[in-house]
Amino acid sequence: MATWTWFHKLASPPHFYRIAGTLTPWLAIPAALLIVGGVYGGLVRAPADYQQGDAFRIVYVHAPSAWLSLMCYTYMAIAAAVGLIWRIKLAHAVAAATAPIGASFAFVCLATGSLWGKPMWGTWWEWDARLTSQLILLFLYLGYMALRNAFDDLQRADRASAVLAIVGVVNVPIIHFSVYWWNSLHQGRTVLKEGGPGMPPEMLIPLLMCFFGFTLMYGALLCVRVRGEVLIRERNAAWLKQLGAPRAA
């Protein structure tokens, strides 16, 4: 049992508030360094693509956003399930804090995909399978946030939206594959083929840096946002007043 005490402590709002506070710079600074390094490597150092020229460079923002928007949804559903099953309020706070971040990543992915589509496909929007399933993912995020906002009572909002997140995460693979199936019937292959020629290291390394940098940035943003959620939820708690509650209203 003793081995689990740290875990239970983590689920208590005061401890998490403190830990997240100390953790934030440790996540944010490496994230900033990695993103700056990755973007510099991607925009300046990497050679132009033999097929797409300089236009491919948007991948350094596009691909990490796509990856994180999916990861955030999974993570949100896991946090929601933990909150629903073990009735851990902090897990609900994590799910609530993740949703807007994930939605932003999905939006960034769509916007960069559309910008990328203009030189590549000649249109701002192509009904490409990956873009379309990203769009549906954004809709799922918007539905989740709309449901959460529709309740006055925070606890009911937590639990209802948790059910939705779990239903959604079961459906995400179905939506994904059905969109691919739909797309393969209606359209020839796109420029961006999967399993294409491997990237040379000077292109790949900045991309990996961006992947890790974006993931760490998500961690830092999550810490800040969960601290905000904890402040809202615990605004009448005694430990906050003892803390000299910074601007908890």
Binding site: L140, A160, I174
Partner: protein
């Protein structure tokens, strides 16, 4: 409008009106609930007919907005039929739990001692009979009006049986989640539409293949798989959502 009393879990032997061929347990409770929902719907008939009229009206909009040439209509008929069916199914979802929440029936169900998931499965089936089945029966007329060939009508009906079934199960989750909210109807669409997109894809595809005279088996099998998945999992989520709404 009073609820038919559900049998208590153990002492339902002396119930006033035993249903034939069913025991005294869950099966009977589920049947009574199904029967009650259907009877209530017959007393408020417009609840059943309005979504069907809506379906026909939406389908009428497209020839007016685009062009009445039969070639074009035949090409877009699967899309029109399926989008109209989807919207009409969303409209019908409004009535699934709302009145039962207001008069306390849902609480009675939750307290009845029977597994809520099964009771809600029965309720969802009743809802399908009242909202999905009328669409299935109306669709051939609309399809023929949209210049679809007569041979495709069978596949259209099968795909709609499967698809509206899935929509009823998915929609029940959404309807239960939005019970406790103020502006439920728009929110319900926001929640259910993204989840329903695979149904639209496969349903419209099966109809399209049938209209072109191709083999629609694959799409129909995928729809069947999705129906089985949603029938087995969605009632659990619906019961969890109903319990949250009742708190």
């Amino acid at each position: 409008m009073s609820a038919v009393p559900l049998p208590k879990p153990s002492t339902a032997v002396a119930a006033p009106r035993p249903a034939q061929g069913l025991g005294t347990g869950l099966g009977r409770a589920a049947w009574l609930l199904f029967e009650r929902d259907v009877r209530l719907a017959f007393r408020r008939w417009e609840q059943v007919t309005q979504p069907v009229v809506f379906f026909v009206m939406v389908a009428t909009l497209f020839p007016l907005a685009l062009s009445p040439t039969s070639q074009l209509l035949q090409a877009i008929a699967p899309g029109i039929l399926w989008v109209a069916a989807l919207l009409s199914a969303l409209l019908a979802l409004e009535s699934l739990f709302r009145t039962d929440l207001d008069d306390g029936t849902l609480e009675q169900l939750a307290l009845s001692g029977q597994p809520l998931g099964w009771l809600l499965l029965s309720k969802t089936l009743a809802h399908w009979v009242l909202s999905g089945l009328p669409l299935v029966l109306t669709a051939p007329i609309v399809a023929l009006a949209l210049a679809a060939p007569g041979e495709a009508v069978g596949v259209l009906m099968i795909s709609l049986v499967l698809g509206t079934g899935i929509l009823s199960f998915l929609g029940a989750v959404g309807a239960a989640l939005t019970l406790g909210t103020r502006r439920g109807s728009v929110l319900l669409s926001l929640l259910v539409l993204p989840l329903a997109m695979p149904v639209l894809i496969f349903g419209a595809r099966a109809t399209d293949l049938a209209i072109r005279g191709d083999e629609p088996g694959g799409a129909l099998l995928l729809l069947t798989a999705m129906l089985i998945l949603s029938a087995s999992l969605a009632p659990l989520a619906t019961s969890a959502a109903v319990r949250i709404s009742l708190e």
